[in-house]
């Protein structure tokens, strides 16, 4: 479905180095890595928001390397959602439909359908300014999904939410993804999210892909010291995050 062939991109001193990933149709793929590892840049390259220096990108077997973002059939939900503050919730969702010249009646039907899917019918007329984090997240998702993309890219979709909501939203995301059969790439620095949603995961560090595979494999057969450190560190955070008020002292030797 999505295939990148040794894509490289340089910005300042940072470089994405010969990234090759294959993601199957309908797969929920999570891309993990510490902040600054190049996850966002990778997504922007996939969308066509950044022009890669070398390599090729294929979507459904078709090369899209030089295609404009709007022609790639990708739904993109950036971190903090980037909802248009000058438009109402409904107009935000309708944005893509208007741009693509849909008739009012058709677009209204699509908006209603998507709003029901994400349970946001109640605040379609509201302005973006007063929405909570969770509401914004759903609106941003609706804005992308209303265009029925083949691929959904989620950039840290739950990192702005509180711990309790995070888990809940991850389950919802997975549910929606399964129902629509969307190929999804979810970018995160949090291993916990990966446990909830991912079919497969990849770990990225300083622009270099460290390891790709099912989560169990990343945990049981890490192929580098970095992967060991990343998964162990994140696992500790997961333990602390799970409601233990006083984390137990770290025990050497425990973990993957």
């Amino acid at each position: 479905m999505i295939c990148t062939e040794e894509i490289s991109f340089r910005i300042g001193t940072f470089q994405l180095q010969r990234l090759s990933i294959n993601i199957a149709k309908g797969e929920y793929f999570i891309l993990l890595g510490p902040p600054g590892s190049g996850k966002t840049i990778f997504l922007e390259c996939l969308c066509g928001l950044k022009k890669i220096d070398s390599g090729r990108i294929y979507i459904e077997g078709q090369q899209v390397t030089n295609l404009e973002p709007r022609a790639r059939g990708i739904g993109y939900v950036p971190q903090d959602y980037a909802l248009f503050p000058h438009l109402s919730v409904e107009r935000n969702i309708a944005f893509g439909l208007r741009v693509r010249g849909y008739q009012h009646k058709d677009s209204q039907a699509k908006i209603t359908e998507t709003a029901e899917l994400l349970d946001i019918q109640g605040f379609l007329s509201r302005r973006i300014h007063g929405l909570s984090g969770g509401e914004k997240q759903r609106v941003a998702l609706a804005r992308a999904l209303v265009l029925q993309p083949k691929i959904l890219l989620l950039e840290e979709p739950v990192c702005a939410l509180d711990e309790v909501t995070r888990q809940e939203v991850c389950v919802q995301l997975l549910d929606i993804q399964r129902r629509l059969g969307l190929t999804t790439i979810h970018v995160s620095h949090n291993l916990e999210e990966a446990f909830t949603v991912a079919d497969r995961a990849a770990i990225l560090n300083e622009g270099i892909l460290q390891q790709v595979g099912p989560l169990d494999e990343l945990l049981s057969k890490p192929n580098s010291k970095f992967v060991v450190r990343f998964t162990r560190h994140e696992k500790n955070l997961v333990c602390r995050g799970n409601g233990q008020e006083r984390p137990e002292p770290e025990q050497p030797g425990k973990g993957p």
């Binding site: 928001l49 993109y76 980037a82 741009v99 300014h129």
Partner: protein, 285 residues
């Protein structure tokens, strides 16, 4: 919420935190001290004018055909200048904000240059360019677009003196629009132009309007370069500011100040009007 734009137009910065304790009071008092000193100072100057002007001067001003003409000249030239300045400011502000090209820092500095030009220098430079250099003479003589001592020259002078404000404000406004909004618009189906028109421009509108107000104000009251480049011919190239100068130079101080009051009133109405209309349309976020 702490973002204040030029002219206070962009966002309301309402003080909605409760005032507690003497430190808060001292802080507020200090802030309002400067607000009141400034406003009282400006009002005092205007009131001084009011007291100096007598009824006869006012009737002279209101009855004079030439002053009405000058008022009309002032209004249309400053409005034309503002429109042309905005026409330049929007694409220039966007380019300077978004694109990094060789020499963009220099280009950015040159935008501000006309603001530091002494008014007389601006007028002299324009006069020398159009009367002494071949490109200038080509424009005037071969193309037949005459600026020197012509109403068109008023607009040109005002543009040189005031366009920088519009460009600078537009650039700042575009700087404030997060690039991610445009990126999302691109993935939703917009072309570059579409994302600019549907997302970037509406979000930068407040700043652009604020720049327009500054430009208009500067153009409306402009005097220095006009005296040199277009002169002040009765009924032709005379605007309110040059009329004031002519009246006071022949000793009609009361009439000069009465015209000044007219200028202030028109400016006050225009600026407050745009702020009220612009503000109410734009600040409902």
């Amino acid at each position: 919420m702490g973002r204040v734009c030029i002219y206070g137009l962009a966002m309301k910065t309402v003080m909605d935190t409760p005032v507690r304790g003497w430190r808060d009071r001292v802080f507020l008092a200090a802030a309002f001290f400067f607000v009141s000193v400034f406003i009282i100072f400006v009002l005092t100057l205007i009131i001084t004018d009011v007291f100096y002007v007598d009824g006869k001067a006012v009737t002279t001003v209101l009855a004079s055909k030439f002053i009405r003409h000058a008022l009309w000249m002032s209004i249309w030239t400053s409005c034309a200048t503002t429109l042309i300045a905005l026409l330049f400011a929007v694409p220039m502000g966007y380019s300077l904000s978004r694109f990094r090209f060789p020499g963009h820092i220099l280009a950015d500095a040159i935008v501000d240059l006309p603001i530091v030009f002494p008014p007389l220098v601006a007028g002299l430079t324009l006069l020398v360019f159009f009367s002494q250099t071949s490109p200038g003479r080509w424009i005037q003589e071969d193309l037949g677009i005459e600026f020197v001592f012509q109403p068109k020259g008023i607009v040109l002078c005002q543009f040189v003196a005031a366009a920088s404000f519009a460009i600078r404000s537009a650039k700042t406004a575009f700087d404030d629009v997060d690039r991610r909004y445009e990126n999302v618009a691109l993935t939703l189906g917009c072309t570059q132009w579409g994302s600019f028109r549907r997302v970037c421009l509406p979000l930068a509108r407040n700043g652009i309007i604020a720049g327009g107000i500054l430009t208009w104000s500067r153009a409306f009251g402009l005097f220095g370069p006009l005296m040199i480049f277009v002169g002040s011919f009765r009924g032709r190239t005379e605007v309110l500011s040059t009329t004031i100068f002519l009246e006071q130079s022949v000793g009609n101080l009361e009439v000069a100040l009465a015209i000044a009051l007219l200028l202030i009133v028109v400016a006050l109405i225009a600026v407050t009007g745009i702020r009220l209309v612009g503000g109410s349309v734009l600040v409902k976020r």
